[in-house]
């Protein structure tokens, strides 16, 4: 049994490695500048980062945050402001790191009171408030954030789509490895224990607040990185774009669709949901949001546990579905 598990794990590592190799080689196989697929993968990478960041907080640690767009927007603005001031350059790793760390610092500062006091839906509402406050602050920031028009930077420095693609891929790998190693460690065990029963976790000597803040800040860090990349990609950072609620809602949909609290779920969910978005907008541009909404409703009605639960639990589910007909197979 154990041997089977080890070989299965090896198989999973191999699949992961092959996928990574494929994504590295892919932009060289096609014309990256004009290829729709490269753009699609880039967008998917961006969403995987956000989805996995949210999954760490909500899926593993059980703290449903609705304020991830705050950290995304913060990453955008840190990058845009330092870039405009000439402190950092174009696609500067220092600026990206600053964006991530900035988001993490805000997450710790706001997480201390919120995570210590609030649980469940109250925490979700609190984080939603955080995002909206930051949006209004950016809107009224005067010359510092340039208000509603936002910070525009000349796109003459644009290098190539491949740069964006590989940076996004790199951040995805960092995010996935980060979450993977956390979940393999004692920290991961503590996070899941907190999700399952906070009181029992505390009774067993887990420093609940410390771990919750760690997960919240970790999720904010990768979200800030994604925001920073987005600022470089759009060349125009404004409140309607950077603090858009879509940056929190769509990743949540992806995680729930793929399977919340699973490692592969957010990745699968990001690709599937994005594919549905893109396909419907390609086939029926007029009706595309309608189909998207219908798709979300159908999935929640028939696959409430997400795609991953369907794949891993298919055998059990089919058996359960058949249970009313059990008498057919039983010998009387």
């Amino acid at each position: 049994m154990i041997r089977a598990d080890v070989s299965k794990q090896k198989k999973n590592y191999l699949i992961g490695l092959i996928l990574v190799c494929f994504f590295i080689i892919f932009p060289f196989l096609v014309d990256a500048e004009t290829s729709y697929t490269v753009y699609f993968f880039y967008t998917a990478f961006l969403y995987i980062i956000l989805a996995q960041g949210w999954n760490l907080v909500a899926g593993y640690a059980g703290q449903v945050s609705l304020g991830q767009h705050a950290f995304f927007g913060l990453g955008c603005y840190v990058t845009a402001i330092t870039w405009r001031a000439g402190i950092t350059g174009y696609l500067d790793p220092v600026a990206m790191l600053m964006s991530g760390v900035g988001a993490a610092i805000v997450a710790i500062a706001i997480g201390l009171p919120l995570l210590a006091k609030l649980r469940g839906a109250y925490f979700a509402l609190g984080t939603l408030g955080l995002g909206e406050i930051l949006r209004v602050v950016a809107l009224n920031g005067g010359s510092f954030t340039e208000g509603p028009s936002g910070i525009s930077i000349s796109s003459s420095v644009y290098l190539s789509m491949r740069h964006y693609y590989f940076i996004a891929l790199l951040i995805v790998l960092i995010t996935l490895l980060f979450v993977w190693f956390i979940m393999q460690s004692r920290t991961g065990l503590a996070l899941v224990a907190i999700r399952e029963d906070e009181t029992a976790a505390a009774a067993n000597g887990i420093a609940v607040l410390k771990y919750k803040i760690f997960a919240f800040a970790g999720g904010a860090f990768v979200t800030g990185l994604a925001g920073s990349l987005n600022a470089y990609y759009t060349f125009h950072t404004h409140t309607a774009g950077a603090f858009n609620l879509n940056w929190v809602i769509i990743p949540i949909l992806m995680v729930i669709l793929g399977g919340i609290g699973t490692f592969v779920g957010p990745i699968v969910g990001a690709f599937v949901l994005l594919a549905v978005f893109e396909l419907t907008s390609l086939l029926t541009p007029e009706l595309h949001p309608l189909f998207t909404a219908a798709f979300i409703i159908v999935v929640t009605l028939f696959l409430p546990g997400g795609i991953m639960s369907y794949i891993t639990g298919r055998k059990d589910m089919i058996l359960r579905k058949l249970s009313p007909f059990k008498w057919l197979f039983q010998k009387t």
Binding site: L114, Y122, E132, V137, L253, L257, P289, A293, A294
Partner: protein
């Protein structure tokens, strides 16, 4: 600059804030009821409101009926609509937990928005009434009639929900279920019946709030989400699951918004409201009127 240029302007702002808050209040009561029994954050509340607003828009443009009668029309229709919505969607998904319910509510919201923008286009619409511009002078201040109607309707709606919860068997069952669904089920209360009733009432209240919106504000299909957010904040002010608290929370939110718009600047009104919301969450998570015993997990 003096902080209070004149007391009459200040009172005008206060009155406007209270009247605006009543509208948030109606939507918040529905949201609070639904959360109380089913633990669902029903994001589509605002979209349902706007749907009611469009129904009234049709009623007014196609027939010579006054939008005020819309209240009587919308109430039974949306009660049925809410019941169907629960039976068709939420009964099934509620078993799977809170996350799929949230996702479903979001899906419904997008679906309603898109359907509305297909049927009525994305243009901003307004319902014209004969009393839209008229107001009652009261000393130095003026009270807009349409907003006063909204406030009266809010009070009546709150009163009716309150009576329902206190005086009827079903209302008693709803209260029991929101306290502890498991124990309520053990005592013979059907969770499905209670949830369906709550959901129907919540949606009907959203419909009433929608009628109130359309006689005071212009609207478009995407206007509702903002209202969902505002209603959520109002609910948190008053305490999740408390009916009187939700109305009070709405009024506090309306006051905060209009006062900060007047005293600081309109651009900061939202930030002040959200900051107060965060403070209340941190200092008094059970809300202003909520009980200490309310479940926080």
């Amino acid at each position: 600059m003096t902080f209070f240029p004149s007391s009459s302007v200040f009172f005008q702002v206060v009155i406007n804030g209270i009247l605006l808050g009543c509208m948030y209040g109606i939507a918040a009561i529905g949201l609070s009821l639904i959360f109380g029994t089913m633990r669902i954050i029903f994001l589509a509340q605002g979209a349902v409101m706007i749907l009611a607003a469009y129904c009234i828009y049709w009623l007014v443009t196609l027939t010579p009926i006054d939008p005020l009668f819309g209240f009587l029309l919308i109430l039974p229709v949306f009660l049925g609509f809410g019941w169907l919505m629960y039976k068709g969607f939420f009964q099934r998904v509620a078993k799977a937990g809170e996350n799929p319910s949230l996702l479903l509510a979001f899906g419904l919201m997008v679906l309603l928005q898109q359907l509305m923008s297909m049927i009525w286009t994305a243009d901003v619409r307004a319902v014209k009434t004969t009393y839209a511009m008229s107001s009652i002078p009261l000393g130095d201040i003026n009270i807009s009639i349409s907003r006063l109607i909204v406030a009266v309707v809010a009070l009546i709606a709150t009163g009716l929900v309150f009576l329902f919860l206190k005086k009827t068997m079903l209302g008693k069952a709803v209260r029991g279920a929101s306290e502890d669904m498991g124990t309520a089920a053990l005592l013979g209360i059907s969770p499905i019946r209670v949830s369906a009733a709550t959901f129907a009432i919540g949606i009907a209240l959203a419909g009433v709030a929608g009628v109130a919106t359309c006689i005071t504000y212009p609207f478009d299909p995407y206007f509702g989400f903002l209202f969902s957010l505002k209603a959520l904040i109002a609910v948190a002010f008053g305490g999740l699951g408390s009916v009187g608290g939700a109305l009070l929370g709405g009024i506090i939110l309306g006051l905060l918004e209009s006062l900060s718009a007047y005293l600081i600047s309109p651009g900061w009104a939202d930030a002040v409201a959200y900051a107060a919301f965060l403070l209340i969450l941190i200092l008094r998570p059970e809300g202003l009127l909520g009980r200490r015993t309310i479940e926080k997990a």
